[in-house]
């Protein structure tokens, strides 16, 4: 016999609903900031990875291998519990006054995801015919500016589908930030469960919100691809 009594009201209104909503906002903030930063950083690492300067290329390669091949949770703990120990006291005092949990989560998510994004962008760049670079260079553009104006705009377009994946992963991975006390969606769902013992309802609510966020990200990216990028694509 099922003795569990469902009480959906706790997650659709009142105090616990407000907790879930506030967690939802933090998850959005954490994801958006990290998505933007990881895209930028991924772009930079991708460019470094293709540099003709060997040390730069090696650095980027090491970065990729290091951050892709260690668990995200370890990285989050490192930035939160480890990194500040080597900083001077003044810096520490300042950090304590900031939202260090949030910052550590952003740093970890950004760096971790940027390694994957960089590889996606690099394979996008590699699929642009080398004649495009030749055409740009023969107009007088430097290597970097050829990348900036001609190669990357085309490559990023080709990279949209894998990028959607990385952004989705990042958003879902942001739930790990609960482990260092960032009051995001998962953290709040856990709180609700602790206070009410209504684990089924609390985590169902969290699941639905994550699903909705995923569909929103996919929808926005697909729309952007369709309306803005596809008409320009093709050869």
């Amino acid at each position: 016999m099922l003795t569990y009594k469902f009480d959906w009201a706790i997650v659709t209104s009142g105090k616990y609903f407000d907790w879930i909503v506030s967690g939802f906002y933090v998850t959005i903030k954490l994801s958006m900031v990290s998505i933007a930063l990881s895209f930028l950083l991924g772009l930079i690492i991708a460019i470094m990875r293709m540099s003709h300067l060997r040390p730069v290329r090696w650095f980027a390669h090491g970065y990729l291998e290091f951050f892709r091949n260690t668990p995200l949770l370890v990285q989050i703990f490192f930035w939160y519990f480890g990194s500040y120990k080597v900083l001077p006291a003044v810096a520490n005092d300042w950090l304590v006054k900031q939202d260090f949990e949030f910052a550590a989560a952003v740093i970890a998510l950004t760096i971790y995801t940027s390694a994957f994004i960089a590889e996606d962008i690099r394979s996008g760049v590699r699929s642009i015919p080398k004649e495009q670079m030749e055409a740009a260079r023969s107009s007088g553009f430097s290597y970097i500016r050829s990348m900036q104006y001609i190669i990357l705009p085309q490559a990023v377009r080709l990279t949209i589908p894998p990028l959607i994946n990385q952004f989705l992963n990042l958003m879902k991975n942001s739930s790990l930030a609960m482990t260092i006390g960032v009051a995001e969606l998962m953290y709040q769902a856990r709180q609700v469960e602790s206070y009410t013992f209504k684990g089924f309802e609390a985590f169902s609510a969290a699941t639905l919100v994550y699903l909705a966020l995923s569909f929103t990200i996919t929808g926005l990216m697909t729309l952007y691809d369709k309306k803005v990028l596809q008409p320009l694509k093709g050869r």
Binding site: S138, S139, Q154, L232, K233, G234, R235
Partner: protein
């Protein structure tokens, strides 16, 4: 304007340019021909350093390409290059393909660059295509846009690497016409091409290459009437035979 002195180039073991000596004066139109693999494309690509030379001296517009100090981007901005496969930027409209380099490299305002681009589009007969994307154009149209893109930088030299070889026969004429007008306007041009009609009509000099060397160098009348080298005779016979 362009001076090759004892230029050599190797691709691995392959000796693609073998002791090239050539002087092209300002305003001159030179057509380079020869069988495939003769080194003619490599020759033209060394002029803007798309293919660096290994030995000898190459001076273009007063700049020494064998010198490390030479600002290659500055030199390239003075040289228009037209590719066999057009190589327009597929993510940009026709107008933006033409205005990109003038705006970013010459720091022209959008207005200046667009005015110039529209004038060039009119010159190549494609004014109505300003907002089209390259994939929406025929090969001949794309190549004319590519020529306009090169001219937008006010180059001192225009290089053409088999500009009509990738085109359907009915589109070759429209591209050659644009090139002919350009030649008559006094542009310094080097054209790698098998279009012997064009060579005969507008070039000042024809260069015949094989095995990485210049075998023959003569004004068109002389080259067609009285080729000296056997390889050139054979080549002309093949290319001018009634079958073509």
């Amino acid at each position: 304007m362009i001076r090759f002195e004892g230029v050599h180039k190797w691709f691995g073991k392959l000796h693609v340019l073998n002791n090239i000596n050539l002087h092209v004066r300002a305003g001159e139109v030179v057509v380079v021909c020869g069988p495939s693999g003769s080194g003619k494309s490599t020759l033209i690509r060394t002029i803007n350093d798309l293919e660096p030379i290994n030995e000898g001296k190459l001076i273009v517009d007063g700049m020494d390409l064998s010198e490390k100090k030479t600002d290659i981007n500055k030199l390239r901005a003075e040289i228009g290059f037209v590719f066999q496969q057009f190589n327009l930027y597929p993510h940009l409209s026709v107008l933006k393909n033409i205005t990109l380099a003038p705006m970013k490299i010459r720091n022209k305002t959008r207005k200046e660059a667009e005015e110039k681009a529209l004038a060039l589009l009119e010159r190549v007969g494609l004014s109505e295509k300003r907002d089209a994307y390259p994939t929406q154009l025929s090969g001949g149209q794309q190549q004319r846009v590519a020529i306009a893109r090169g001219l937008a930088m006010d180059p001192k030299i225009m290089l053409f690497d088999e500009p009509t070889s990738a085109l359907d026969p009915e589109m070759i004429g429209e591209v050659l016409q644009v090139m002919k007008d350009l030649a008559l306007s006094g542009m310094t041009m080097i054209v790698v091409s098998h279009e012997m009609g064009f060579a005969r009509e507008v070039s000042h000099r024809i260069i015949f290459m094989d095995f990485g060397t210049i075998l023959e160098e003569a004004p068109p009348e002389e080259f067609f009437k009285n080729p000296k080298h056997d390889r050139a005779k054979q080549f002309l016979k093949q290319i001018l035979s009634p079958m073509h």
